[in-house]
Amino acid sequence: MRVSCTVNGIERYGYAESRTLLSDFLRHELYLYGTHVGCEHGVCGACTVIMDGLLTRACSTLAVQSEGLELTTVEGLAEDESLDLLRQLFSVNGALQCGFCTAGILASTKHFLNKYPNPTEDEIKDMLTGHICRCTGYAGMVKAIQEFVDLSKEGSQ
C-alpha cells in the first residue's frame, strides 16, 4: 500500500507491505540511508528516529504506522544548524569511531536536550543507556553533550 509521511519537513511517499519495517521503508523506499539497522530487535538503538514527536526504534515500528505523521531522521538533523556545534564536539571528543551508532544517538540527543536543556551527567548517562556503541566506551559522548550544553548556555547569555 501507499504510505505518505513528512520526513525532515518534506512530504514523501513510498510503497510498503503491512509488515514492512519503518527502517526498511526509510532506507529502501525513500533512500534515506542515514538510519542504520543494527540488531533489528529494538535493543541497539542505531535506527532511532523521531516520529510524531516521540523517539522511535524504526526497526520495531511498521512503515504503515508513519502514515500522515512527521518524522525526523539523521538527515534532517544534518540540516539543523544549531546541531553543527554538537557534531563538531562529537568529533573532537572522540564520541564516535566507526559512526554506525551515531545516527541514532544524535536523534536521541536532540530529543533529550529539547526536553532537558540542562541535564546532569547522570541524566546524560541514563539517556545513553538506550544505545549500544562498541567503539568508544561512551565517555566521549557524555563529554561532548556536556560541552554542548555549556557552550549553548554561554551563547544564549
Binding site: 507491505e17 503491512s18 509488515r19 519495517l21 526498511d24 533489528e40 530487535h41 529494538g42 535493543v43 538503538g45 532511532t48 516521540l54 523517539l55 522511535t56 526504534r57 526497526c59 520495531s60 515500528t61 511498521l62 504503515v64 504506522q65 502514515e67 536521541s108 530529543h111 533529550f112 541514563d126 539517556m127 543507556t129 538506550g130 544505545h131
Partner: protein, 286 residues
C-alpha cells in the same frame, strides 16, 4: 529478522477496536508502543494474522486523578508517566519505579497498557499494580469489567484478558498522604530487564500499620507480601520476608538460578523495607 505477513488495521475509536477484536480475537494482536511486540514480530515468535494498531485511538492516553484513584489510560506513554505531577503526588511508588522501566528511548513510545497487557514477569508497572492493589479495566463488545491486578496476571506473558478484550485503563488507588515507599531492582545493565525487582509500601490502614512488599522477576508473575499489624516489629517482618521468599517458585534462566533469585529477593526485600520505613513517620519496635 522480518515479520511474517499479516493484515493491518488502524482503528480510531474504542468501538471500532473492540468490534475488530470480536471479529479477529484469537488471530489478532494489539499494537501500542511496539517495544515488545515489534521484536517478537521480527523474530517471528509472534505470527498473528491480524495486527490492530491502537496508537491513533483518541482519549485513551490520559493520566488523571478521579476521586480516590489515579486513572492511567492504556495509551499513556511511559515518559508521560515519568513526568506526571499527579503520579508523583498520588502514586509515588510508580514514579520511583519508572526510573527502572526500559530506557529514555523506549519510554518515549512505550505505553502503560502495553506493559500491563504484555505481562513480562520482571516488568515494573505490573509489579507496582499488584503491590498497590490497582485494577485493570477491560472492554469488549459484551461490556466493561475491572480486574484486580493480583488476579489479572496469571503467568509469564499470560493474563486473564480474553482475546476480544481491550485494556482501556489501569486504576491505582490513591492512599492518604503519609505513606512511604521504596523501589530497588537488580539487572545486568541499567534499563535491562530486571532479574529481581522489589517494591515497598508502608502506610496506615485504620489504626493498623500495613506493609506491602511486591516481588517481581522471581516467579512468573508479580507476588505481594502484605503484613498488617498494630506495631512494626522489625525482626518479625524480616522473618516474614524470609518465609515468604522461601515459598516462591522461582524462574531460572541464563542470568540467574532460582536460588540466586531468592537470595536477591530476600536481600532487596529487607533493603526496600528498611528504606521505606526510614522515610516514614513510624517508630520501629526492635
Amino acid at each position: 529478522m522480518k515479520p511474517a505477513a499479516f493484515d493491518y488495521y488502524r482503528p480510531e475509536t474504542i468501538e471500532e477496536t473492540i468490534s475488530l477484536l470480536s471479529e479477529y480475537g484469537d488471530d489478532s494482536l494489539l499494537l501500542s508502543g511496539g517495544l515488545s511486540l515489534g521484536p517478537m514480530l521480527n523474530m517471528r515468535v509472534a505470527r498473528p494474522s491480524v495486527i490492530i494498531d491502537i496508537n491513533r485511538i483518541k482519549g485513551l492516553g490520559g493520566i488523571a486523578k478521579i476521586e480516590n484513584q489515579l486513572k492511567l489510560g492504556a495509551l499513556a506513554r511511559q515518559a508521560n508517566l515519568t513526568a506526571s505531577k499527579e503520579c508523583h503526588n498520588f502514586v509515588p511508588l510508580l514514579t520511583e519505579a519508572m526510573k527502572h522501566v526500559g530506557h529514555y528511548q523506549t519510554r518515549s513510545r512505550g505505553t502503560v497498557g502495553g506493559s500491563v497487557a504484555h505481562a513480562d514477569p520482571s516488568a515494573e508497572i505490573p509489579l507496582c499494580a499488584v503491590t498497590l492493589g490497582a485494577d485493570v479495566e477491560l472492554m469488549s463488545l459484551s461490556g466493561k469489567r475491572a480486574v484486580p491486578a493480583d488476579d489479572f496476571f496469571v503467568g509469564a506473558l499470560e493474563t486473564v484478558r480474553a482475546p476480544d478484550e481491550l485494556v482501556t485503563a489501569i486504576n491505582f488507588p490513591v492512599y492518604k498522604i503519609g505513606c512511604s515507599i521504596a523501589f530497588e531492582e537488580i539487572s545486568e545493565r541499567r534499563g535491562d530487564f530486571a532479574i529481581v525487582a522489589v517494591s515497598a509500601w508502608v502506610g496506615c490502614k485504620d489504626e493498623e500499620v500495613s506493609v506491602r512488599l511486591g516481588f517481581g522477576g522471581v516467579e512468573d508473575r508479580p507476588r505481594v507480601l502484605e503484613i498488617v499489624d498494630f506495631e512494626i516489629r522489625y525482626d518479625r517482618i524480616i522473618e516474614q520476608i524470609n518465609d515468604f521468599v522461601d515459598e516462591l517458585a522461582p524462574l531460572e534462566d541464563r542470568r540467574a538460578t532460582g536460588a540466586f533469585r531468592k537470595q536477591l529477593a530476600r536481600h532487596l526485600g529487607k533493603k526496600v523495607f528498611k528504606t521505606a520505613l526510614g522515610n516514614s513517620e513510624f517508630e520501629t519496635n526492635k
